[in-house]
Each structure stands twice: as C-alpha cells, then as structure tokens.
Symmetry: C2
C-alpha cells in the first residue's frame, strides 16, 4: 500500500453518526466559545489564510531531525510565519497590529510552530517589558527596532543557580563613573543566565536583570539592555560567553540559552530608566512605583492561564474524537466491540476534561476583565484591587497549568498505546503544558503567595475590614460558620467549595497563630504551615472557578443563547461541579455533614451527567472549532480517519525509506552470523 493513498476523503461513519445525533447546533456553540459570530469569522479567516499552503505531513518530518537541524529549521520556519502574518496585516489593515505581531504566538497559529518559536519571548514579553521599563527615548531606540524585527532580543533573568528569588541573583552591573558605563559581570557558574528563550542561537541583544552597584553599594536588581552578538557577523561580543543550554523535554527548538559576561561595558543610558535612574554623576533615583514591574508579570500569567485552558480543549478534542472512532473491548460479548466512548470509565476520562476546559476558559475571561479594570484603575493611580488581581492571576495560572497538564495526560492515556505516538501530538501538548507549572512563577511558590493573601484577608475579615469581592466569602463564613442544609443544588456546591476553602484558611491561620505564640518567627511559622497554606490557596482557586462557571451558565448571558445550547452548558456545569466536588470530598466532608445517601446520590449524578453528555461530546469539541492544523494529531482530525492517518504517518518515517537499515550490515548481521 502506498503512503498517500490510504486516507479516505470521507468522514469516519462513527464520527458522522455522533454529529448527526447531537442535541444542539455546534456552530452556535462555536460562536459563543469564540466570543461572538464576528470573532469566530475573524479567527477562521486568519486560519484559512495562514494554513492555506501548509503541508502538515512535510512539517511533521521535523520530528525526525537531529536537535541541531530542528533548531535551524525553527528559525527559518518562524521567520516565514512572521513574513506571512505581516503580509496578512498589510493586505487587510496596513498600519494596524491586530494580526502582526498580536497573533504571532496566538492559539490560532499553534499549528505552525510545531517545535517552538524562538521569537515568542520577544513578542510576548520583551516588547512589553521595553514599553513598561524604557524612557520614551529608549523605547524609540530599542523598542522600535524590535517592532520592525531588525534585532533579536531575549529576556535574561533566571540564572543557573537562581530562580524565583530576584534578590538572590548574582549577575552584577557596576557603574563606572569615569567612562559613564556599566560593567557587567558573571561572578560564578551559578550566576550564568540560564533558560531565556531564543537567547542561545538567535539573540543579538538581551534585556539583562543584574544587581546594580554604585561605588560598590548594592541598589538591587535592575534591567539593562545589552548587545550580546555583533549585528553583522552574529559573533559573540567581547567578554560574552553565549550558547544553548541543551535539549529539553519540550520546546525543543526555541534555543533556550545561557549567558556569561566578563567586563562587558555598556553606556549608562542602556539601563532601562523609566522608573529607577542613575544620573551621570552616579546619583541613584529610586523607582516611584514598584507595582509597575509586577503588573507586567500579572499580564503574562493571565495569558498563560487562558492558553492552558485552550490547550486542554485541544487535547479534549483529540481524545473525544478518537474515543468515538476507536472500537475496543466488548461491553456485551454478543455484540461487536463498541466505540470506547461507550465505556463509562472512558467517559470519566474524557468528558470531565471537556467541562474543565470550559470552566477554566470562562474563569480566565473573568480574570481578564478584572485585569482590564484594574489596569484602567492603575493608570489613574488607584491600586486597591492590585493584590486581589495578583492573587487571582496566580491562582488561575496554577490551577489551569496543573489541571491542564494532568487532564492532558489523562486524555493521552485514554487513547491507549496510540496516544504515545508522536503523531498523536498529545505528548507534545503535555510537555508544553507541564512546563507552564514551572515558568513565570513556580506553582508552589505562587500558591504560597496566595496563601499569604488569604491570611491577610482572613485577618481583615476578623477585624471587620472590607474584603475584595473574590474573597468576600471568607467574611460570610466567619459570620455564619455553620454550613446549613445540604441541598446539592449548584449554588449549594459552590457554597460547599467556599466553605472548604474558608475552613482550610481558618486552619492555616490558627496553626500559624499557634506557632507564633509558641515563639516561632513569622517566617519559620509560615514555612511550617506551608502545606495547609497551599491547600487553602488551591481550594480558594477552585471556589472561584465554581462561582464564575455557575454565573456564566445560569446568569444573564444565558438569555442570549438558545435553550438547546443552554441545556448542554448546564450539563457541563453539572458534570464539572459534581466531579470536582467528589474529587475534593476529603475537604468538603470536614465542613458539610453529608450522609452516605447524599454521597451515593452525587455519584449517581456523576454517572447521569456522563450519560447525558455522551451523545453530545463530539459536537461540543467540534464547537471548540480547532482546525486540523491546530490539533496536528493523527487521532483527532475532523474526518476521524485515525487509523489511516497513523498508518500514513508511519509510512513517511525516515527509517521506512529503505528496506534494510545500515545497522544490519554493520552490526546486527555480522553479530548474529558470528553466533551461528
């Protein structure tokens, strides 16, 4: 059989049957999910343009390359995507920016960056950091060049021996008053900048976080704009030791780099001086507003959280379609093997992840609204909601990344052996998601920060001080510590999760207080209470997701949707709430006196929700409206021809292009012969 002939041009009959039997219109779902019919049309237009002449099979050959070839390929490929996107911008709205660079790393284009985009950091982060941290003159000089893509700029903060704790960074920048320069140095191996995306191979400039010293006096970490390679030759600049940190689990071709500096001199004007300043005479002017730096990180976390909810939806699409196509293990031995989606255990692996992607995407939408509102406040000098926004963005970054990673892996395992194939793309999706548990604020570190915010909020509630809206339930629980009647209604489930969060907050608060009374320092006591602080933080995040999902599904917006769509959303809400409640029952049982009958009823609701959603599962993931190029999965394509695609992908593997491998002639053949 030849490689290209096996994929039928028809849709798999089992999949078509699912679509025909759906209880709602997946186009209406798609418009709702996209944020409106106009948005849906816009996104489809982009994808049509950008994927028009992409040969996925050829693109996927990159998986078989050596590390070096893969990295070289990614540079070429990412530049081509940039060119095409700029072309799109020029054609549809010259001078605007809604296509380029806005969409360069958007979910719509994920399918184009199979092994990663070395320039992601430049357009997702560097350009924003320059906007936030440069004086207008500096932005004109540095930022505009990035916008025009005349330079390649990395963001170097993390060091080999130092991560989250900025004050622990070792890289130093000493002001030399004689020459009006900063002298940058990497005093040890652990001070090497390590990890910045695109730094290793591509960058010729980098923003560098370094400890500022003036006359030997430490002023703390500041940002500097450093040229690391020559613009014309790309050779490392004098004193610069730069390269790639080596292979990783994922992000295979983004050339995460290292940077060591030995007496690298830059003009004083290359410190980013929008806020803090060093004058010509060496006098130091402190930043008037520390919160401004941290606000950029909040933005990044909001985007990560939302992307994680979408990447989970991608995996859920693949897992659901494959579960409708694969037939395995009889339920009734007298009948043919059923679609595996008919196995209830399979339903439990797949359908809750669909519901979770909705719940999280929806929570992130609320978060982004809060971000915009807080951003407007901030521009008017009002900072009241900043701590709440910070805490909520951390909570959703943590939950979305860790639950997406776990959910993707569950979905991958639900696809059996074929889920392990690179061509299924689930492994690649997983390693991308799990990385987000670590970067931009390691999840446990963030949970501890949320924990601290909860402690402050609990104390404030005790003293009757007003609380931010998303923690106001803590005050309510303090006022009415008895849960009251368990009804099992959705509102009741939200309340139960809030009570569980409040209870864990109370326990952590009391244990912290006890430890302080027993003479522990605040820091040691906080460390000792770390487990309960992180648990409280996690439950707090879950309570928020519960609440916002309930609001979306049952609130005013439901009036704009058809009753058929609302019915499906309500079933997804039911599944999400019941399943997450059961999964957190150890904490809920401490505050709500559920009987055995109540628990059995919840279990039966879980099974009923799965049964009800089973016939709509395929239509729901169709409503996510991912193009085949975004999924890039032999298991998940719209036509459902999974086996033929797996077969086709295997035939094009390099090893299959010759009938006898070299190693037979050189090693295996002679060895076996010698044993005769």
């Amino acid at each position: 059989m030849s490689a290209s002939s096996v994929i039928p041009s028809t849709v798999n009959a089992d999949l078509q049957k699912e679509r025909d039997g759906a209880s709602f219109n997946s186009e209406e779902f798609a418009a709702w999910w996209a944020g409106g019919a106009e948005q849906l049309k816009f996104k489809r237009g982009i994808k049509e343009y950008m994927y028009k002449d992409v040969d996925l099979a050829a693109l996927n050959q990159v998986d078989y390359l050596s590390h070096e070839d893969m990295c070289e390929f990614a540079v070429k490929n990412s530049i081509n995507v940039a060119k095409k996107l700029r072309q799109l911008q020029a054609e549809r709205n010259p001078g605007g920016n809604e296509y380029w660079p806005t969409l360069y790393d958007s979910p719509e284009l994920w399918g184009l960056h199979k092994v990663g985009n070395p320039f992601t950091v430049m357009f997702v982060m560097v350009i924003h950091a320059l906007k936030d941290q440069c004086t207008p003159e500096q932005y004109e000089e540095f930022g505009k060049r990035v916008e025009r893509f005349e330079v390649s700029v990395a963001y170097a903060q993390t060091e080999l021996g130092h991560g989250t704790y900025l004050r622990g960074l070792e890289t130093r920048a000493d002001y030399d008053r004689e020459t009006d320069e900063f002298v940058l140095n990497t005093p040890s191996i652990t001070a090497y900048k390590w990890w910045p995306g695109g730094l290793g191979q591509c960058s010729n400039y980098s923003i560098v976080m370094a400890q500022l010293y003036i006359d030997g006096e430490l002023k703390g970490p500041h940002l500097f704009y450093v040229q690391v390679r020559e613009e014309d030759t790309h050779e490392p600049r004098p004193g610069v030791h730069i390269g790639e940190i080596g292979k990783k689990m994922g992000f295979l071709a983004v050339n995460n780099g290292f940077l060591g500096m030995k007496n690298v001199r830059i003009p004083r004007t290359r410190m980013l001086m929008r806020h803090a300043k060093v004058n010509r005479d060496g006098t130091y002017v402190k930043s008037p507003a520390d919160a401004l730096t941290y606000f950029a990180m909040v933005r990044t976390r909001c985007i990560i959280a939302r992307n994680m909810s979408l990447i989970l939806a991608v995996a859920a699409t693949i897992g659901t379609r494959y579960s409708a196509v694969r037939r395995q293990s009889p339920i009734d031995p007298k009948l043919p093997e059923p679609q595996i989606l008919d196995h209830v255990t399979q339903q439990l692996k797949v359908i809750p992840e669909i519901a979770a992607s909705l719940a999280y995407r929806n929570a992130c939408d609320y978060l982004l609204e809060l971000f915009d509102a807080t951003s407007r406040d901030k521009d008017q000098g009002r900072y009241e909601r900043l701590p709440e926004l910070h805490s909520l963005s951390c909570a959703l970054k943590v939950l979305c990344s860790s639950d997406a990673a776990a959910g993707i892996e569950r979905l991958r395992l639900a696809c059996g052996g074929h889920g392990y194939l690179t061509s299924a793309n689930l492994g690649n999706i997983y390693v991308n998601a799990t990385a987000a548990c670590t970067y931009e604020g390691e999840n446990t570190v963030l949970l501890l920060q949320i924990g601290r915010f909860l402690m402050k909020s609990w104390r404030a509630a005790q003293s009757g001080a007003p609380l931010a809206p998303t923690v106001s339930y803590l005050a309510e629980v303090q006022r009415n510590p008895e849960f009251g009647v368990w009804t099992g209604s959705w509102e009741n489930l939200v309340k139960a999760m809030q009570f569980a969060a409040a209870n864990k907050t109370r326990i952590a608060f009391n244990n912290l207080a006890k430890r302080l009374v027993n003479g522990q320092s605040e820091e040691v006591a906080a460390n000792q209470t770390g487990i309960e602080l992180t648990q409280a933080a996690e439950l707090h995040g879950r309570a928020f997701v519960f609440h916002s999902f309930l609001t979306e599904v049952t609130g005013a917006k439901s009036k704009k949707r058809s009753s058929a769509l609302n019915r499906v959303l309500e079933q997804l809400l039911e599944l999400y709430l019941v399943n997450a409640t059961l999964n957190n029952m150890n904490n809920i049982l401490r505050v709500v006196a559920l009987t055995d009958a109540d628990l059995n009823k919840l279990q039966s609701r879980l099974e009923t929700a799965l049964t009800k959603l089973r016939p709509d599962a395929v239509a729901i993931v169709d409503g996510f409206d991912f193009a085949d190029e975004q999924l890039n999965s032999t298991l998940g394509s719209y036509d459902g021809n999974a086996y033929e695609r797996i077969f086709d992908a295997a035939m094009s593997a390099p090893l299959n292009q010759k009938s006898v491998p070299k190693s037979f002639h050189e090693h295996l053949g002679p060895f076996m012969k010698s044993n005769l």
Copy 2:
C-alpha cells in the same frame, strides 16, 4: 571556561553535611534493600564490570541525534552490551545464566540503554513465550537460536485497530491441507500488527498471534513462528510488509514495528503446538490448559510492577539529592537562601516518594513470593490461588505504574526548571514509567478485572465460602461492619484502608445487583458500575500495600536489623501510611467517624514525619545504592555537583560547537537586514 574542567572532584558540601548527619548507616540500609549483603556485593560487582569503561558524556550525545541515527546507534550499543555481559558470564561462571541473559535488561544495566534496547522483548518475553508454547522439538529449533542470539525475534500480537481484546484480532492463519502449510494474511489496515518492540528494523522472525482457520472454521487466536526477513540479506520476505511505526514519546530507539502479510506461507510445524495442535490431516486438538498462557503474562506484570517501584526510587534519589544541593527562596530573609529540602512544601513533594518506592518494592517482593508459590502449585496441577495471584499482580502493576509515573512527575517538577532538561533524565524516566500504564494490560482494563474478582469474592464471603488470604478482610468486614474505635495506630490505618476498600466493594456490589434487578444485562450493568469497580480495585490494592509494608517493618524481619535502621523504616512507614490515608480520606470518612481533631492530628503527624525524615533523606536514597550511571542525571549524581554537571552537559551540546549557527547566515541575518 572550558567544558571539562568545571566539575569538581569533591563532594558538594551541603550533600556531605547531610551524609555526616544521618541517624543510621546507609550501608546497612543498602544491604537490606538489596536483599542481603551478598546480593549487594553481587550487584555492585556487576555494575563495576559493566560500567567500567563507559563514557557517559559520550553516550549522552545520543540525545542530539536524528531519529534514524538514534535507532542505528541503539542496535550497535545493545549488541555491545550483550557481548560484554556474555563475557562476564564466561569469566565468572561459564555455562551459567545468572549474568547473561538474565541481567540484559535488569535495573542494574538501565544506564547502558539510554534510548532503549531493541532486543529487550526478545529476552524478557519471546524466550519465555517460546518455552511455554513450543513443543520440545520446536524449542530446540526456535528457542535455542534465540538463546544463542543467531536470530532476532519479535512478539507480534497487538494490531493497529485491536489491543487488549484478543478475540478481536483480525490477522488470520488458514490451514492449507494440500501443502501442509498455514497461509497468513492481514485483511485490512486495522489488522496490521502494530507496536511490537524490535520488530521494525531488527527482527528477522516474529511470533505472530493470528486467528486460526481450518476449512474456513474459526478456532480462535493461536501463535505462529514466522520468518519476516531473509537471514542473509535482511530483506523482507515475499508478501511481508514490515517497518517502523514512527517516533514516540519515549523508548525512542527500540524500533517498535508494523507487520502486514499477504499470503505468507509457513510450514504447519511453525504453529506453536505445545498445547493446542493441528494435525497433518487438519484435525484440531484443543489446548488442555488455558491458564498456562495467562501465567506468562502474570510473570511479566510482576516484573513490571517491581521495576516501577525501582524507577520511582531512581527519581526519588535524583530529586532528594538535588533538593539538598539547590538553595532557593529564603525562609528567613535575614539568612542565606536555604537548601530547598528545608521548605516543608518541598519535603512533601520529595520524601513521600522515597517512602512509596519502599512500600511498593516491598509489596512486589511479597507478590513475587506468591508467584513462586503459585508456580510450584501449578506445576503440581493445583490452580486454587491463580485468580488471587492474577488479581494481585494486576493491582500492583496498576498502582506501581500509575503512582510511579505521578510520583516521578512530582519529583521532576520539584526540581524546577532544571528538571525539564534532558540531562536531568527525569523526563526520560517519566516517559518510560507512564508507558507502563498502558502496555501489558491497560490499567483501567486491569482494574475492571480486579473489580470482577472483588465482586466474586464479596459474593463468596456472603455465602460463607472461604476467601483467598489477600481478600479475607472482606469477610471480616461483612462479619463486623462497624469500624469501631479510631486510634490512629498503624494497624488502625491499615484497617481503615481495608474498610474503605470493602465499603466501595459493597457499594459496587449493591449497585450492580440493583441494575440487574432493574433488568440490565450483566455486561451492561458491569459497564454502568465501572467507576465504582475501578475505585474498589484501587483501594483494594492500597490496602494490600499498607498491610505488607506494616508486616515488613514491624514483623519478624525487624529483629535482623539494627534499631537505628528500624527507626528510619518505622518513620517511612508512618509517613507512607499517614500521607496515603489523608490522600484517600474521601473514602475513609465514609466508614470511619473521624473528628476534626483526629484529622488535625493526622495532618500534624504528616508534618512531624517529614521533619523527622528530613535529616535522613539523603542517606536513605544513598541506601538505594544506584550508581551514577544508573541515574545518569546531572541533578542526582553522588557528588552533588549539579550546577557544574548541567553546565558541562550544555557545553557539549552540538549547537555550541560553532559560534554562529547556519540559520543566521541563511535566514535570520538576511531577514533582520531586510527590515532595517
């Protein structure tokens, strides 16, 4: 700085301090863990011989190769390991087999098969299958050639469209009475053999599972010995379509293969006929004992389970040592950044995995004893304990693989960004472990089988029939359904887990019965009860691990250990039981009336156990006695020079061997210039 000079020859001071401060002798631990001082010496002797002249840094360059080169490398490498191991056998005990082939794929040699061993299946499985299924004459002809490594033989069962359900396989073997041959055919794409390790590139023979037809009448799946490539040229035999299935998440270079056959003829005598037979005249003789086939699978599952407990110990060693070496995030801002192992949240990520590897390794030891006993029984025609052994081997295969995978990922995440580096080896370990959740019986399928065994056992207990020892607690719970007093003792925790398992078994049993009464067929009812059946099965497995760990630590064997070692093992038992109890509290609270005070006390015991084990953590993982070559991790080496090793590994990455990458000249440079 040059690449090779950065790694000190001294041990990291933080790590040395840990060793100096340990409360027990890790050599005594090592001897206990290895199964005695003699065993420890034997294992060390093997490792010394086999790793003597291995250049790890050179070996690790394989990570950077193309898929094809990696596969070619693995063939050469695995043959070299075989030669060396045969040499060892010849030197130490000519004619024996305790080195070759017994140790070819043993944990001791894991470090030698970095990207997988294409011949693992041949020596772990094929040779045993041939022993079990061949007549003596057949074994003489096929098996002996494998022993001598004159041929390369795969085991082809799974098909592209068919996995666990053997009766669903499509490959057929029709008996041709005229020529006294079987004619093998692959009737469709979904019938292609898919996944067999080593089949794609290396094999010239394969055991093939196919549906036997005689005169067009189906006799069910049988095994055939099929030549797939010519011995001299390695060209595929006529009618054979063979190759590799393409890249996967892990097992990168074991060339998992596909096989399609078109009228491939083999002599009748190539059906493996030890049990079932086809005579010259086409008469068919059924196998007298079906259980014999399934016994070989039980053996494989026992080995997988035990290997998973060890692979978790490998990851725990890496995570623990790195946590002692890495300093990050102040507890007290006035003090230097602490070892991250001092953060309580980090302790919770790392130390329970140490305890879990012990608990599981220990449970697997008991399982292997049961296997040996049952094996002896079987040889005498006694099959009573077979169902129990089958069920227990499934339970431990499931728990060890899924908990090892989850634990390894927790440990990897606990190492922060550097855990994501290929050179940390945790990613590689993870993809190996997670694969075991799927192969040799997909975990959910196995849980459902255990669930069925529990249903039978529950019914038997109701009728007063005797139960197998490992499920006898079900009868006890039926007799005394009240848990009684919660004391929190270890025995009490074991009992609580047994009650939780029995309770879920009861719920599943009752729901199943209710569904049958309501008119559902047995199969449909079992499917509908699938979630609770799998939950019961999991809890049953946990109860067994609880019980066997308690027995090991507090039982008669403790008399042979020093009190210092016993104290550490008791603390590990305490941590394991308390942590697992808390993690399963949702099920335990349904059967045991714990008060809030009881729960707070358990939480406090968890924290105390972590605090007590913290100073011994490094010495415990030292006691696992993994050589640096087995760990193959920049983060986990015995000397603890993690940063220097990360640095060193990065310097040797291929991209760093030239100062300017090709893509700059060809793509990035011209592109940026064009934007000027």
